[in-house]
């Protein structure tokens, strides 16, 4: 029984998380109380707790994580200075005349917005406020409009540079090194955040393509669901569109490109991108001390939120290890009939279900350190695993009735969009997600080929 305690710890943590106290403290507090009970019962070695201060210090000095505040700063600056909004409005107006054009432009701008902010909630809310009314006004079937916006909002995770990929890259590279050290490698191979970005490019674009094609096909065969927009209501000149579109797109491409081609670290690229975003805002006379303070405060809030969860998860994983959790997972995985395949499938299912209650930061920090070393030790490719987790979580966030993305849209959608319509509209996109997930499982090269090419 004692050897099953780590799993009990995990279950108890999940149970207490549902009570709704902030995740970071729940993770740490439950784990510590569990450890003290274990010490009292003589089944936990307190020495594992003594390692925690140095591991917290390790979080402080982890250079890869400095990319988080930089990216948050850049994304929030683009958002608060309303550059992202203008982008959305101009694109919509320009392409609205084509059949399905409005829907497709929502997908494309959503992709850019997702790439710039990288936060699912923010993207869904922004698009729900801006694009949903114009889609409904244009006569789009409410379920199609709702589904498109929810799905596009989840792109924020997979389209690099995303904060999800940065954190996942960090945790996966640690798990990868751990698995090789466990196997006795002297000079462990490593993966970088840039590798994960590169791995996500093709699957991300495939998703965008699938979404856009779906909207196009619906518009072609069922014009009532996606009628062409009546011209004249909001014309936008090509010049205005160009000048609105070009600078933020150039900024995103430059930031992403310099990371992918190894010219700059994610932190450096995002730092320059943050200044670039501020300059764009300044050029539009949208930058003042108030905006700067708002952006900075938001950066502080999101950064310390993520860091505190990492700290809580670090305490959890220390206790998990102290109870022998690593060996337990290893034994369970190697004992499974079906080997690597079943192990990966189980992990994916657990992550999918956790996606109903937890956001990606918690899942990344909680689950990957638990199962990553064992899974990677069985020969799973780290980049492929990262991309799979990302697409999987995206699917989870989109799946009725618990998906996060659906809740975010519900919170800003008007009453003429019933919750049932949002659910119905999301289902085709969930199926597309599952299709890409299956494709990735069958063709891992979709994720791993580009990083290898760029190395």
């Amino acid at each position: 029984m004692i050897e099953l305690l780590p799993l009990l710890l995990f279950l108890v943590v999940c149970l207490f998380l549902l009570a709704g106290y902030p995740v970071a403290f729940t993770l740490a507090g439950v784990s510590l109380l569990f450890a003290y009970l274990g010490m009292a019962a003589g089944v936990f070695d307190g020495a594992f707790l003594d390692l925690i201060p140095n591991r917290i210090y390790g979080i402080f000095v982890n250079q890869n994580l400095y990319a988080v505040p930089m990216f948050v700063f850049m994304g929030t600056m683009l958002e608060k200075s309303r550059i992202a909004e203008e982008l959305l409005e101009n694109m919509e107006a320009a392409f609205a005349g084509l059949p399905g054009g409005l829907g497709i432009s929502v997908v494309l701008v959503g992709m850019l917005l997702a790439a710039s902010t990288g936060i699912v909630g923010a993207t869904v809310v922004t698009m729900g406020i801006l694009s949903l009314p114009s889609m409904l006004k244009a006569g789009y079937r409410p379920s199609l409009a709702g589904g498109t916006i929810c799905a596009t909002g989840t792109l924020g995770q997979i389209i690099p540079p995303s904060i999800c990929l940065i954190l996942l890259g960090e945790v996966i590279s640690n798990a990868y090194q751990q698995s090789q050290l466990n196997a006795g490698a002297f000079a462990p191979d490593f993966v970088t955040i840039g590798d994960l970005f590169a791995g996500a490019v093709v699957p991300g674009l495939l998703l965008v393509l699938a979404y856009a094609m779906y909207v196009g096909i619906v518009a072609r065969f069922d014009p009532d669901a996606a009628p062409p927009y009546k011209r004249g209501s909001r014309e936008v000149s090509a010049r205005k569109l160009f000048s609105g579109l070009l600078p933020p797109v150039v900024l995103m491409v430059a930031v992403l490109g310099s990371i992918l081609f190894g010219l700059a670290t994610p932190t450096e690229a995002a730092g320059v991108g943050a200044v670039g975003a501020a300059l764009l805002a300044l050029g539009r006379r949208k930058l003042n001390i108030g905006v700067l303070r708002e952006v900075s405060l938001e950066t502080v809030r999101l950064t310390s939120m993520a860091y505190l969860i990492l700290m809580g998860a670090t305490i959890f994983s220390s206790v998990f290890r102290g109870f022998g959790g690593e060996q337990l997972i290893d034994e369970i995985f190697t004992g499974l009939p079906g080997g690597v395949f079943s192990a990966t499938l189980i992990v994916m299912l657990v992550i999918f279900l956790l996606g109903f209650i937890l956001d990606f930061i918690e899942i990344t920090f909680l689950v990957v350190p638990m199962v990553g070393p064992a899974l990677l030790g069985m020969g799973v490719d780290p980049i492929w695993l990262g991309v799979m987790i990302c697409v999987n979580l995206q699917t989870s966030f989109l799946t009725p009735p618990f998906g996060f993305s659906l809740f975010y849209l519900r919170s800003v959608a008007p009453d003429e969009l019933p919750t049932g319509a949002i659910y119905r509209g999301a289902i085709p996109f969930v199926l597309m997600q599952l299709g890409i997930l299956l494709l990735l499982a069958l063709q891992p090269g979709l994720a791993t080929a580009l990083p290898e090419l760029l190395r």
Partner: protein, 168 residues
């Protein structure tokens, strides 16, 4: 809510809010320092270890002081699926128990367990492992108990606030 606990809550809240509004400028400074590092490296091929290490200090301070402001601003995520459906008193109960059992235990544990770790660093005024790095690693490590202490302080306010809500 008693007059005294209302005063305590408001004093702590004001402190955390002001601290957040001051340290948020660290985000701007961090961005600027990163850009200066990039410019020096790519335009002039100058790598300055002290400057690079300063990002570590700025970022850590942003987190260590910012986490408390974020707690005050209700910025630490919850699993709110059930929580949002609870009655006000039940929410208050969750917040009271959480403040003591989770936040309280964690904060006290971190201060207690990091004490020797930080004291050891102070005893030798530990500096950077790099010869041209910053000689103040002991201050960086001190941020660990400081972070926990500040969270505990705001935790007192959160507890009292929940208690008041529970009693009302």
């Amino acid at each position: 809510m008693t007059v005294r606990s209302a005063a305590v809550i408001s004093a702590i809240d004001t402190f955390s809010e002001r601290m957040g509004r001051i340290i948020c400028w660290l985000a701007v400074i961090e961005v600027l320092v990163v850009v200066v590092i990039v410019l020096l490296r790519y335009l002039f091929s100058i790598g300055h270890i002290g400057l690079q290490e300063s990002v570590m200090y700025i970022n850590s301070a942003l987190f260590a002081f910012g986490a408390t402001y974020t707690l005050k601003a209700q910025g630490h995520v919850r699993v709110d699926f059930f929580y949002n459906r609870l009655a006000g008193k039940a929410q208050a109960l969750v917040d009271m128990l959480g403040a003591v059992l989770f936040l309280g235990v964690t904060g006290v544990f971190i201060i207690w367990s990091s004490w020797d770790y930080v004291a050891l660093s102070w005893s030798s005024f530990e500096g950077s492992a790099e010869s041209s790095g910053l000689p103040i690693v002991f201050l960086l490590k001190t941020l660990i108990p400081v972070l926990a202490g500040l969270l505990l302080l705001q935790g007192v306010a959160e507890f009292l606030r929940a208690l008041g809500k529970f009693r009302s």
